[in-house]
């Protein structure tokens, strides 16, 4: 859509929404939020960007193919269970390591897992949206 207003406002909006989505992701463990919701918010923001500036702009911004992003997400999630092998506990056990940021320990397998969820949601929905947009 070739609207000046949109093209001005949207990048700002998208950035805020993206940051917000990450915030929602990280706070999920103790307050409403989490990977799904964060991912949905991020995907919505990217959809908005796509409406404003076209699919090519989104693809350039993403750098990677959205499916690769999704795949990376699933990979993170699968891998978050691997460190448990080295700690002699079953697959996917939640392991929390020491350094804490803002009272949230960030180096932890459930965090990686949730990040994976986030990326999967973002990647899949964006992939579908972009493909639909480019469908003739």
């Amino acid at each position: 859509m070739n609207s000046l207003i949109l093209r001005t406002v949207v990048p700002l909006l998208v950035s805020i929404m993206l940051v917000f989505s990450i915030f929602v992701l990280l706070r999920g463990h103790s307050l409403p939020g989490g990977g799904f919701i964060g991912g949905l918010i991020a995907a919505s923001s990217l959809a908005l960007y796509m409406i404003a500036s076209g699919s090519q702009a989104v693809r350039k911004a993403l750098v990677l193919h959205p499916m690769s992003i999704g795949g990376l997400g699933l990979l993170f999630a699968v891998f978050s269970g691997v460190p448990s092998y080295f700690s002699d506990v079953p697959y996917l056990t939640g392991l929390w390591y020491e350094p804490e940021f803002f009272h949230i320990s960030l180096i932890a397998t459930p965090v990686l897992f949730d990040l994976g969820v986030y990326l999967v949601v973002v990647g899949s929905i964006t992939a579908i949206a972009l493909a639909l947009e480019e469908w003739h």
Binding site: H29, P32, L40, L74, P110, V121, A131
Partner: protein, 777 residues
């Protein structure tokens, strides 16, 4: 060692095509070496068996199911094994000459050898299941052999028919054998034979009927006889081997083998002779109707099998001896005659008896073979066939109702004599007629086997004492389950059987002399008759028709139907127990919550009602959205904000997407449904809804086990570092579920991409101009 004898056939069968290619002109003789070797192996067992010993060898095959690969050599199986391997050797050599130049010659040899292995396994098997395995293998190899000339529709039809009939009988046999194993307490024949008759067992009748079904189908008894003449579509070596000397005798073998266990009862002595007798007469009469040599031979084989069944049914010592004699002599002369017929066909190009005459001058050796075999079949002294006939009459005369049985035997035998003369004598005497091809004597492979068999027919007859002691007695004793020694006399005593033989010969020559009249008479009589052959075609066609109709009932191809049917099943599955167990709620207890929450419940119901009465699809979808939002509100109110948020987002997205898609589709904006279907759908919906509600209320009335809830609440913060129990469950307690779910999301994305990018087989790449066409498959 015995196992090697049996299984070597299969091994060589696999390599046969290669051997054939290597030894082209002599491949028949080369490959015949194996059957010959097997034959001599069994010959050296003869003295041992003649003295009443038996040999058994066993290996575990599937011990958990009681199946052993066990083989048992006694008089019965030894003689059969000798016939199979001996005649087999000649057949293999014969096939080498008969099929010379044929494209699939090597394959054919392989099939024949595989068949030989199967047949050997069948007669030597001791374990019931092992026997069945080989039984089915003979059906399979027979299928492949009959259909060998598969470019001809008649061959294909005959092969399928044979497979279906013998296969169907085989399945019945399986049931019978399994029952027998249970009833008799063992799956080993040797043990069953030792324990004797199971006539008193409650399972006797079903076992008898099932085994009979198997035996009758395999041995072409009326009404299952029709497949055998049709099987003549196969190349002559096949007819000579399978459909005269060996495979069709498998049923007879089975009955003989089962005689000590199942025989001797009233029903045995009634059913077998009756069916056998009918088969004898039917076979000979229908045979004389034919003019094709192979067809005549086929029908007389049917008749001979009937005669054998009849004799086994009679079951006295004499009858069994007669059966043994006839079985051996029949194998010799029938195999010989088939080979002669094939030689004639091969050299003259025709098989019509009316066109064959005077060939004795040009094919002297073949003529001699035919003569010898024919005379044995006619039962002329001093051939083996004569001795057989004598004992047959002795048997029929001493068993009630002697008049009928003897009469049947006389008629049958005399008709067969006519047939024998027609096939074995007439083509060779008289004036030489014009034939499509110039007749000539074939290579040794073509006449050596027939000649040898014919000679044996005389030799065995003349060496009656030897035959009696080494061939007949052991086999008869094995069949009878008791020692049977009947002395065989080459020089017949003056007695009633001799007189009857004379009558038979006399009658036979009358039939032969008047053959043309007889033939036209028979033809006229049977012209309009409906026979089982036609019946089997009708059966198959009907089966296909019924299958199509029945299958079409459920497999309508319409998704509408499928969904309605499924939901009907759901309604039944839920509704029946609900009503049967009386789960319908008798009282409704309203939950104790604030008024505004009732408002939310109300909103949900409003949404559902709006959906029902929506006047366009768009309205319907929006109404569904309203219901979805209300559910999200319920989540929010009852303390699950995460769920609520996700529900809001997903609901919005789905409504938007569905609306967008629907707007692009060329469908009606209204959902038109007639009154009756609407009623049906309403009924389904209401019953399912009521059923689910009742069930849930009933479950709700039971105390809820809160073990899991308490555990999660207790451990969420302490162990899992999180206060948001929902998220903790998602990413920690039940993380594996989430892992699976995000995989679903990703895969959904993949599938959507695939749908968008490849349409109708064409890949459209977003960043390229080229279009790649899919391969057709």
């Amino acid at each position: 060692m015995i196992a090697i004898a049996v299984l070597s056939g299969f091994v060589l069968a696999v390599f046969a095509p290669f051997v054939h290619r290597l030894t082209k002109p002599l491949s028949g003789w080369v490959l015949a070496a194996l059957p010959a070797a097997i034959f001599f192996y069994f010959v050296q067992m003869m003295p041992q068996i003649a003295h009443g010993e038996t040999v058994r060898a066993a290996w575990d095959w599937v011990p958990s199911f009681g199946v052993t690969l066990s083989f048992y050599v006694d008089g019965l199986s030894l003689i059969f094994a000798l016939l199979i391997s001996g005649i087999g050797a000649f057949i293999v050599a014969y096939a080498g000459g008969y099929l010379k130049g044929h494209k699939d010659h090597g394959r054919f040899m392989g099939f024949i050898l595989a068949f030989m292995g199967s047949m050997l396994g069948l007669v030597l098997a001791d374990n019931l299941i092992t026997l069945f395995v080989f039984w089915e293998l003979t059906s399979i190899t027979s299928f492949l052999l009959i259909g060998f000339n598969h470019d001809k529709p008649r061959s294909r039809r005959a092969a399928i028919q044979a497979l279906v009939v013998t296969g169907g009988g085989g399945l019945a046999l399986l049931g019978g054998l399994l029952l027998l194993g249970v009833a008799g307490g063992s799956f080993e024949l040797s043990e069953l034979l030792a324990s004797g008759s199971i006539a008193e067992n409650p399972y006797y009748l079903p076992i008898f009927l099932l085994v009979l079904a198997g035996a009758f189908t395999k041995s072409a008894q009326v009404p299952f006889h029709f497949w055998l003449p049709n099987a003549m579509e196969a190349p002559t070596p096949v007819s000579a081997y399978l459909h005269s000397a060996t495979m069709v005798k498998a049923g007879v073998y089975l009955l003989a083998r089962m005689n000590p266990i199942l025989g001797g009862t009233d029903i045995w002595e009634l059913v077998l002779p009756v069916f056998g007798g009918i088969t004898l007469l039917t076979g000979t009469l229908l045979g004389l109707r034919q003019t094709d040599v192979k067809q005549i031979l086929a029908y007389t084989t049917v008749a001979s099998l009937g005669l054998l069944v009849m004799l086994i049914g009679i079951g006295t010592d004499v009858a069994i001896t007669a059966a043994v004699l006839y079985l051996i002599s029949h194998a010799l002369f029938k195999g010989g005659l088939f080979m002669v017929a094939g030689s004639i066909d091969h050299s003259t190009g025709t098989r019509e008896t009316v066109r064959l005459s005077g060939l004795g001058k040009v094919m002297p050796l073949t003529a001699l073979a035919g003569l010898l075999a024919g005379l044995s079949m006619m039962g002329i002294w001093p051939f083996f066939g004569f001795i057989a006939k004598e004992v047959i009459y002795e048997a029929t005369l001493h068993h009630d109702p002697r008049m009928w049985i003897t009469a049947v035997a006389i008629i049958g035998n005399s008709l067969m004599l006519a047939a024998a003369a027609l096939v074995g004598l007439r083509p060779f005497f008289g004036k030489l007629l014009q034939t499509p091809k110039e007749p000539h004597e074939g290579s040794p492979s073509l006449w050596l086997g027939a000649l040898t068999l014919g000679v044996l027919g005389v030799v065995f007859g003349m060496m009656s004492h030897f035959s009696g002691e080494y061939l007949v007695a052991p086999m008869a004793s094995a069949i009878g389950g008791r020692d049977i020694h009947t002395a065989l006399h080459l020089w017949p005593e003056v007695s009633l059987p001799l007189a009857l033989s004379g009558v038979t010969i006399f009658l036979g020559f009358i039939w032969f002399w008047q053959i043309d009249h007889l033939r036209s008479l028979l033809y006229a009589a049977t012209q309009r008759l409906w026979g089982p052959d036609h019946g089997s075609d009708q059966f198959l066609a009907a089966l296909v028709r019924v299958s199509k109709n029945l299958t079409g009932l459920l497999q309508t191809g319409r998704l509408n139907f499928y969904i309605t049917f499924t939901l009907t099943m759901l309604a039944l599955t839920l509704g029946i127990p609900v009503i049967a167990y009386g789960l319908l709620p008798t009282s409704i207890v309203l939950p104790d919550v604030a008024l505004h929450i009732y408002g939310v419940f109300g909103l949900t119901v409003v949404g559902a009602l709006a959906l029902l009465f929506a006047r366009s699809r768009l309205q319907a979808i929006l109404s569904m959205g309203v219901t979805g939002f209300s559910v999200a509100l319920i989540f929010l109110i009852f303390g699950a904000p995460d769920l609520a948020f996700t529900q809001f987002m997903v609901e919005t997205l789905s409504v938007v997407i569905i609306a967008l898609v629907l707007l692009r589709l060329p469908v009606d904006t209204y959902d038109r449904r007639d009154f009756l279907p609407s009623l049906r759908d309403a009924g389904l919906a209401i019953s399912i809804g009521v059923a689910f509600t009742s069930i849930m209320m009933a479950i709700g009335a039971e105390p809820l086990d809160l073990t899991l809830t308490e555990y999660f609440a207790a451990n969420s913060y302490l162990e899992a570092h999180g206060r948001n129990i929902v998220n903790v469950i998602l990413v920690d307690f039940r993380a594996l579920d989430t892992l699976g779910e995000i995989a679903v999301v990703l895969v959904a994305g993949l599938a959507a991409l695939a749908l968008i990018k490849v349409r109708d087989g064409i890949l459209t790449s977003p960043d390229a101009n080229r279009v790649t066409r899919e391969d057709e498959a």
